[in-house]
């Protein structure tokens, strides 16, 4: 800590208490970590109300820009600004290097896994992954069997959730291989932060992330069907009531492509067209933000009108690329997750660079008994859910909730997994004009076209309530900008 501002630093930290969790800013003895010093000193120098003032001006900027998300299960269409924290989360070059290598390895292996499972299924014949686990997964799509996917890329856009344990090590909590969201918040957070702390930002040497839309566009273009040199690329959204609608419009605008809804598309002779004021125009690549189930009522859920009838047949005929491919949810099933280190070893003959979190499978008799006996210490998750829904956090649960989960686990063991309650890392946040530690995770965004591309950064999600471990935006979480340092 700089000797020049001992008093201010004292007020700044106030009752900032360290606990067992890794603190992103401070060492166990309370010292500010070297790469956080410039930030701490800047904060200490700012006048009392200045932070609050900057926060308000940033808030207003989010609201007028309409950077909002929709909360389900409350008044339909309630818009809120995405809560965010003003202080950046810093990641050193060394830490990032490991994350980047680890994710590249992991995504490469998972893509090979999907290709294998939907073609020869060698990994199942070799009994590395149990056959029932794959075929009982609700995201397995038998329609994908034997289908040639452009460039063999199943998962072009991925957002994996990382946590940092109290050893300081990053681990992967889950992979989002279907329609990961949040990247627009990563980009808008950065814009707001550059305006809020311009000097601090430039003095830190932060690696840029702003080219993400361009990389995404290049990725999509690289996956276009053969013989379409100037592909017409579109982003398919479920529409304005989707919680991530802001993101869909944002990305479409940043890439300069059309944002289409299912009702804009028609198929004829296995070719997908969109309705334009100049007549029908052929579509070549669809960046899909609609789940499998809702994509084509003729093949998937018949009662959905969000997708486009005939889309899957056009895809099957190779006339249109849809990405991510259908059926990729198989590889982010929370039960299959336990096998990812083995999957990496099987295809790449390497050890996983980023470890998994220890996971108990409820289909295993012994593990199930252990979990049922220790529900108050563990986290239980439904395998097919995301967004923090269908989850039991043992230490924060009531006896009633635990009984309910125990009953559900007994009734349908394949549907649940359990993990230890993790003391994942905490970072300083601005709460009522003071610094307080809050739990954070990290979701970097991975693109996979010609090769794997990861922009240095990601969305750091924050559990804004004191002591809370849930970072999902739908459950009271927020975000902060992530600065990956040049060195």
């Amino acid at each position: 800590m700089s000797a020049g501002h001992p008093v201010e630093m004292e007020t700044l930290f106030g009752d900032y208490a360290l606990d067992r969790a890794f603190d992103e800013m401070r060492e166990a003895d309370g010292q500010v970590r070297p790469h956080y010093r410039a930030l701490a000193e800047t904060l200490a120098r700012l006048p009392q109300d200045e932070l609050q003032r900057r926060k308000q001006s940033a808030d207003l900027s989010f609201l007028t820009q309409g950077i909002t998300f929709t909360v389900y299960g409350r008044d339909e269409g309630t818009e809120r600004i995405f809560p965010y924290d003003l202080l950046p989360r810093l990641v050193t070059a060394q830490e990032w290097d490991r994350i980047e290598r680890g994710l590249t390895q992991r995504i490469t292996a998972l893509n090979l896994f999907l290709r294998d499972v939907y073609s020869e299924a060698r990994i199942l014949s070799d009994r590395v992954v149990p056959r029932d686990l794959v075929y009982s997964c609700k995201h397995y799509r038998r329609q994908m069997r034997g289908l040639q996917v452009p460039r063999n890329v199943y998962i072009a856009v991925v957002g994996s959730d990382l946590l940092r344990l109290n050893t300081g090590e990053f681990v992967v909590l889950e992979d989002n291989l279907r329609v990961p969201s949040g990247v627009s918040y990563m980009l808008t957070n950065r814009r707001v932060m550059k305006r809020t702390f311009p000097q601090l930002f430039s003095s830190y040497g932060v690696r840029p992330i702003e080219h993400y839309p361009q990389l995404l566009l290049a990725t999509l273009r690289s996956l276009a069907p053969e013989g379409r040199p100037v592909p017409n690329i579109v982003l398919l959204t479920p529409g304005v009531f989707n919680s991530a609608y802001f993101e869909h419009t944002y990305l479409a605008r940043q890439m300069g492509i059309d944002l289409v809804e299912g009702r804009d598309l028609v198929t004829h002779d296995n070719i997908v067209y969109m309705r334009t004021t100049d007549g029908l125009k052929r579509v070549d690549v669809i960046y899909r933000r609609v789940d499998d189930d809702f994509s084509d009522p003729l093949v998937f859920r018949a009662d959905s009108s969000l997708g486009c009838s005939g889309l899957f047949n056009a895809y099957r005929a190779g006339n249109v690329t849809v990405t991510n491919a259908f059926g990729t949810g198989l590889a982010d099933d929370k039960a299959l997750y336990a096998y990812v280190p083995r999957i990496i070893r099987y295809y790449l003959n390497e050890d996983a660079i980023l470890p998994n979190v220890e996971t108990y499978l409820m289909t295993d008799e012994k593990e199930r008994r252990h979990v049922l006996a220790n529900l108050d210490k563990l986290v239980v998750k439904a395998v097919g859910e995301s967004g923090g829904y269908g989850m039991l956090i043992g230490p924060h649960s009531t006896a009633r909730q635990r009984e309910e989960f125990a009953r559900q686990i007994e009734a349908n063991p394949r549907n649940y997994i359990a993990q230890p309650t993790l003391d994942f890392s905490r970072a300083p946040c601005l709460i009522n004009n003071r610094l307080e530690p809050r739990h954070v995770d990290l979701r970097p965004y991975v693109l996979f076209g010609d090769k794997v591309n990861i922009v240095p950064g990601g969305l750091t999600r924050v559990a804004l309530e004191r002591g809370s471990l849930v970072v999902n935006s739908s459950q009271g979480g927020g975000s902060k900008d992530t600065w990956v340092l040049e060195q």
């Binding site: 609201l63 007028t64 820009q65 309409g66 529409g239 304005v240 609608y245 802001f246 419009t249 944002y250 479409a252 605008r253 059309d258 944002l259 289409v260 809804e261 009702r263 804009d264 028609v266 004829h268 969109m274 309705r275 334009t276 004021t277 100049d278 007549g279 029908l280």
Partner: protein, 320 residues
């Protein structure tokens, strides 16, 4: 461009034009009510709701402030300013990627302004200022639209929406005022009649422009001539129709698909009606039915645009 997007841009623009028209006419009407010697408050209110259309649920109940508040803030009533601003924003939200950030921020700010606590407080303390700030917000949006958006197809659909709505609204306004003003033989103006005529001109922001063209010598015939046949004033119906014609033409030129013959014919007819007629001919024949025809033809233009650009059948498009 996507048909759905074109449709949303068109409606965004129509709704905003309508919101502005409602706010301005309400402002003028309330101003006229300060001089009770002319017409009664009730008659003025009926005239107002008549020229805005959709008067059901807006019947005069004697409480002007409450009625006015309803006409501005009742988001459930389709004639209200808030309803129109909501409609515009909802359409804009669905084409967020097509409009510029400046446009969206401007419109979003107007939306939040209409829904803030302050808006009601300001309205109670000073109705004029409150309405003026709404109108300002819409003008800003229009200015920002013209300066920050590519003047391609999307912008032409915005323009189409604005002028079609305006032509229709001006025709309706004249139709409502027409029995009271236009048919009375020109008399020595009492101060009250003068106020009425100024009111009519203010309802379409044309008082100053009129004076510029004809001096402050107000006569019903000239007012009608100005609002119908002037080719340079943006609230005159002829100007609106010329703009519509120009937009349809540009949309065709950028897109390459020929508009249907009937659309060309209807717009051409409107253009000829306003471009090759004198006001004395209109007054000698039947001004009321002339105005009525203009409204009908505007409706027809709207339908034809919808069926050609937005809701066409796939079969017809595949053949083409």
């Amino acid at each position: 461009m996507l048909s759905r997007v074109a449709d949303s841009l068109y409606w965004m623009s129509r709704y905003l034009e309508r919101a502005e028209n409602t706010a301005r006419q309400l402002d003028v009407t309330m101003n006229l009510m300060l001089d009770p010697g002319g017409a009664s408050a009730e008659i003025r209110w009926q005239r107002l709701t008549g020229s805005l259309g959709k008067s059901a649920g807006m019947e005069w109940n004697g409480d002007l402030e409450q009625m006015a508040r309803k006409l501005v803030f009742d988001g459930l009533h389709p004639a209200s300013v808030t309803f129109c601003v909501n409609g515009a924003r909802e359409n804009a939200r669905q084409v967020r990627e097509e409009i510029s950030s400046e446009q969206w921020q401007r419109l979003n700010r107007l939306f939040h302004q209409m829904h803030s606590e302050n808006a009601l407080a300001l309205f109670s303390s000073n109705i004029n200022d409150s309405l003026a700030s709404v109108i300002d917000g819409i003008h800003l949006f229009q200015g920002v639209s013209d300066t920050t958006m590519i003047h391609g197809q999307g912008w032409q659909f915005i323009r189409l929406g604005r002028y079609l709505e305006r032509a229709y609204a001006t025709a309706t306004l004249l139709e409502v005022y027409q029995p009271d003003l236009i048919l009375t033989p020109e008399r020595e103006h009492s101060g009250y009649q003068y106020l009425e005529l100024v009111g009519l001109l203010r309802c379409s922001t044309s008082f100053e422009a009129y004076c510029h063209e004809y001096t402050a010598d107000l006569s019903p015939g000239r007012i009608l001539e100005f609002l119908l046949l002037n080719r340079d004033f943006p609230h005159a119906i002829r100007y609106c129709v010329d703009s519509i014609r120009d937009s349809v033409d540009k949309i065709q030129r950028t897109g390459g698909r020929r508009p249907p013959d009937e659309l060309t014919a209807v717009i051409g007819r409107l253009h000829a009606m306003l471009g090759f007629t004198t006001i004395s001919e209109i007054l000698a024949a039947d001004a009321a039915s002339f105005l009525h025809t203009i409204r009908e033809q505007c409706m027809r233009v709207h339908e034809l645009i919808y069926h050609h650009y937005v809701h066409y059948s796939i079969q017809s498009a595949l053949v083409a």
